[in-house]
Symmetry: C2
Subunit: 343 residues, 2 copies
């Protein structure tokens, strides 16, 4: 039989309030009363009804994490970090998969899980500033992952994408490469989070600053950031006749796809073509060759996002001005740019 707070109270010969106090760890309970109540709890295996608690208290202890695709290594690794950071705050994570579809992102931000979740951490793909401004689920605290090109309507945490892209490109330049291609631009990337737009800009700036030209012929668009697209983009680059001596991929999975194409084409990495990505996913540490990359501090991103959410839940902090946090990143050169010497 499923025990209720009341049943425990009866058995222990106390009131529900006292049991509630024990369950919630309040201080002002006489030691022997507490012991007696605890004994009944242990013995009956009582578990509080979380729905009831949530209805009453207005808090569920659950936060949602909305990501485009759970099986992309970067998001999988980020999920892990968020789950861990949330656990430290006593939160459970509920995962929403949006597939990057605007419709689904809007739904999630509107509060599709209303009153079931205390807050939302989302990595938006198609969600625009307008969607955020006019959302009606206005009381659901949100933290966005990734830079926002548009207004500062919400809290967000991100790395400096332009800076990261510059670092990657400068690393290739420091190795004497001059024809540096870019894989990963996206047709409409100036909307939403605009990662592709920012990374392309960082690439262009680095080249220009170094006295090179950012040749549009060396930029290849992709539909997604998956390996398949990276492989296809690299094939396109090779077929175009303008063979680069280095490639900056906008993320690691694109880079891993590019490595695959280069291997098939019989080109040596990095001797013929050097390759670098962004994300530092685990795959890149064991690929052949190992992948040079820019490593964002995922733990810091996760921790910061969770903390921002926690702060929004402090009663009067609800309508404090939106904050923007920057997480760190670091260049991790490996074999795909340095060669076997990298080991």
């Amino acid at each position: 039989m499923r025990m209720r707070l009341r049943d425990v109270a009866e058995r222990a010969g106390v009131s529900v309030k006292t049991v509630s106090n024990v369950v919630n760890g309040y201080l002002h309970v006489a030691p022997d009363t507490r012991a007696r109540v605890q004994a009944v709890i242990d013995e009956t295996g009582y578990l509080p009804n979380l729905s009831a608690r949530s209805l009453r208290s207005g808090r569920s202890g659950v936060i949602a994490l909305a990501l485009p695709e759970l099986d992309m290594p970067y998001f999988a690794e980020l999920t892990r970090s968020v789950v861990e950071a949330a656990q430290e705050q006593g939160w459970t994570v509920l995962v929403d998969q949006t597939d990057g579809l605007r419709e689904r992102e809007v739904l999630v931000a509107e509060g599709i899980r209303h009153n079931l979740i205390d807050g939302l951490i989302m990595s938006p793909v198609s969600l625009g500033a307008g969607d955020l401004a006019e959302r009606s689920g206005g009381d659901l605290p949100i933290v966005l992952l990734g830079e926002r090109l548009d207004a500062q309507h919400v809290d967000h945490v991100a790395i400096d994408n332009i800076g990261a892209a510059r670092s990657a490109t400068q690393h290739l330049m420091s190795l004497g490469r001059t024809r540096i291609a870019a894989i990963g631009d996206q047709p409409h990337s100036a909307v939403g989070s605009g990662v592709a737009y920012l990374r392309r800009r960082g690439w262009a700036e680095a080249l220009t600053d170094g006295g090179l030209v950012a040749d549009p012929a060396l930029v290849v668009d992709v539909a997604t950031f998956r390996r398949q697209e990276g492989a296809a983009a690299m094939r396109q680059l090779l077929a175009s006749g303008t063979q680069p001596d280095a490639v900056f991929c906008f993320n690691d999975t694109l880079a891993l796809g590019a490595l695959r194409t280069l291997a098939e084409a019989g080109l040596r990495v990095p001797d013929d073509v050097a390759v670098i990505g962004i994300d530092d996913v685990e795959d890149g540490r064991y690929s052949v060759p190992t992948l040079s990359t820019i490593a964002p501090d995922k733990a810091q991103i996760a921790r910061t996002a969770v903390q921002m959410l926690a702060q929004r839940l402090v009663p009067r902090a609800a309508d404090a001005p939106p904050r923007e946090a920057r997480a760190g990143y670091v260049l991790v050169p490996r074999e795909s740019t340095l060669g076997r010497a990298a080991g």
Copy 2:
């Protein structure tokens, strides 16, 4: 202002019952009444309080998925499949990360999220039959992922691990390999889900059946199924002086780690050593060389697990006898066994 059912009822000039009927899509509502109520709902942006609904109805519409590690590609891909299958049933997925720790697995199975979740799908690592038999959260429907060596206390869905391991090994034998090593055994793998135990058994059976000997010297233990361990195991194998001409890794990430070590050692795959894994994770389709593998039908596993859970929730089906479902798998030979011809 946050609308309640009651507020909507007032504005529409009907009772709460009627609004509830509209919200829940019941049939017996006069068309014009329905239209009027719906208009108020749209206009006010009313969203039902899910905690209240859950408290009252005993259903939350949320199921939990408990996995050891979210950033292992196989689990990440499986998560995606489960989320999709759950969505079809109108369920949201709440993810628990257990790190394979018995303590955490027990906690989750005991009903740590009690009344917040309608059911649990779990891929256990250390959870034993005893834990399951004596769990007190006896009314939380559970479906286990992976074979159970021990009793049939719960529903579970799995591939035939012995068969899958046999197929992998036989594929290597069909290529004329005779010194076939096995990477991935685990010291205490005869407890819990025992994947390692079963896969080792499949490997041994295939060899014996084929007239070869299952040499214990060719079996390497690992602590986890990560790339790092696969790389280390392969190094150990090479250092031992008994160089194999093929390696069956108990999963793909171990195999990817092994490939890395072989590349570092200057050995050619598959010419010197052929390699095969199990899981068919995306990484293996783009690695250099591409990875031969046994592909379990992840979509089927996910769909079946979700369906089993759904069936448990039908009122009187709650204590039907536990069921065991088998998902299919298929051999996917790629370059790591067939060479460049595989393309």
